[in-house]
Symmetry: C2
Subunit: 239 residues, 2 copies
DNA sequence: CGTACTGTTGATCAAAGTCAATTGAGGTGG
DNA sequence: CCACCTCAATTGACTTTGATCAACAGTACG
């Protein structure tokens, strides 16, 4: 289900109406708030995290260029997590009214949004597997594989290298490990000639080796086209 | 957004058309398959899990009576995980054609399905926090709180007690711990007078104590009604 | 009865957390 | 230009948690 040229035009129009460039480390959506707009990443990175009362933090998602920051945002009574922009973020906002118009006039665009949100759910499940079953080395390797693969899909990998403007502490909080252990684990990967991450630049030195180490299989990222039949269902998107 | 009596009638009609009672420990949806039907739990328990090549298993969801087993099922190219019925399962199947009809004639029912799927996503995020940030004792306490709370919401808690027909190994695989350590942790909770789980019967002896131990806050289960405005958006459910 | 699961307990070990100190880079003001 | 400050990254020493390996008990069922 790829969009027609006309639909793409409508979509980029909508995404161009309300664009903000945001300072690094700015909170976009506070936990507990009710969102006023749906946010779409045009450039830069964001992360979504939950905090425990004692301060422990878990990053539950990274949002890369092209990603929708939680499409369910208008459905939930209030946000269960905080969305923070990390670096170089340009964000398009879509209002409730615009979504309503889209849903009436361009159901296939809406359907694409839903598919995106289901892919996000699939990634979420894989993160649960990652943090629950894999060792520290496997975890870090796996998430680096995911990041590189997702960035490659949107054309942001140059050869073996891509921007990765987060901190080690962010990666640690995503993998459920301390910053110190994340550091040591990254060093092991570096010393093993698998991946080097320095000064915000990630280089995958040995892609096969890294993928073998953690058993990375990109199927869960659902890059393939949707099944043909889906058009028949309308998924509530329909007419 | 609660359904009207008429809508409830339509829904229970749809759910009554194709009901199966299934043997314990039967696989409902195999990983890699493409689903033919959308499954809704009418009674009993199911679990959804992913496996790593070396056999490690992560339970990513428990499905209790009333739950939808992955509404996204027709959207994804193929299932990323296995859905297995655990005990006493009666399952309603909804075909693609029925979903299509529903989406045209009863958008609000479809909308309810979407809300359900977003609640499932919220639970998924909390599980990630649980397994990534909390200690073994906290993890087990938290998941017991969740189970009891969800069962209470559908009227399946009698006083302090509810059926919990899974095995300790299932709970362990959900919490990302070995069966042995799960056993020891349950013993600690039992000895601490917090919760007793024996012979498939879970008793919450000290609800406050258990919730305090793990910082359980049921907000992520999203039991509250949806915000009023949601009707205006149609979420692609429209017309 | 024997067989096969589950659940239970113990002893040992390795992985990751904690605490503490140091290095290094970038920014700022004098 | 340099002294200073801050924050992130890095490394080391030690501790704790939970995994691993192993044995055994309780129960259900053919």
């Amino acid at each position: 289900m790829s969009l027609s040229p006309a639909e793409r035009g409508v979509l980029s129009k909508v995404l161009s109406l309300d664009v903000r460039s945001v300072q690094r480390r700015t909170v976009l959506q506070e936990v507990g708030s009710t969102a006023a707009k749906q946010a779409v990443m045009l450039a830069g990175w964001a992360c979504r995290f939950k905090r425990l009362p004692d301060g422990r933090r878990q990053v539950v998602a990274f949002y890369l260029p092209g990603d929708i920051c939680d499409f369910s945002i208008f459905m939930a009574p209030e946000l269960d997590s905080t969305i923070e922009l990390i670096e170089g973020a340009r964000v398009a906002g879509i209002s409730q009214a615009q979504l309503a118009t889209l849903s009436r006039g361009h159901p296939r665009i809406m359907q694409g949004f839903w598919r995106e949100s289901q892919t996000a759910a699939s990634i979420q499940r894989e993160w649960l597997v990652n943090n629950s079953q894999r060792s520290a080395r496997e975890r870090v390797a796996h998430i680096l594989c995911e990041i590189a693969t997702r960035l490659r899909a949107v054309g942001l990998v140059d050869g073996q290298e891509c921007d990765c403007p987060i901190m080690q502490a962010d990666l640690g909080d995503a993998c459920g490990m301390t910053a110190e252990h994340t550091n040591r684990t990254l060093r092991q990967l570096r010393d093993g000639g698998l991946a080097t991450w320095r000064n915000g630049l990630l280089r995958i030195d040995d892609s096969d080796g890294l993928q073998n180490l953690c058993g990375f299989d990109p199927a869960y990222l659902q890059f393939r086209p949707a099944p043909q039949q889906s058009g028949d269902i309308f998924f509530g998107v329909g007419r």
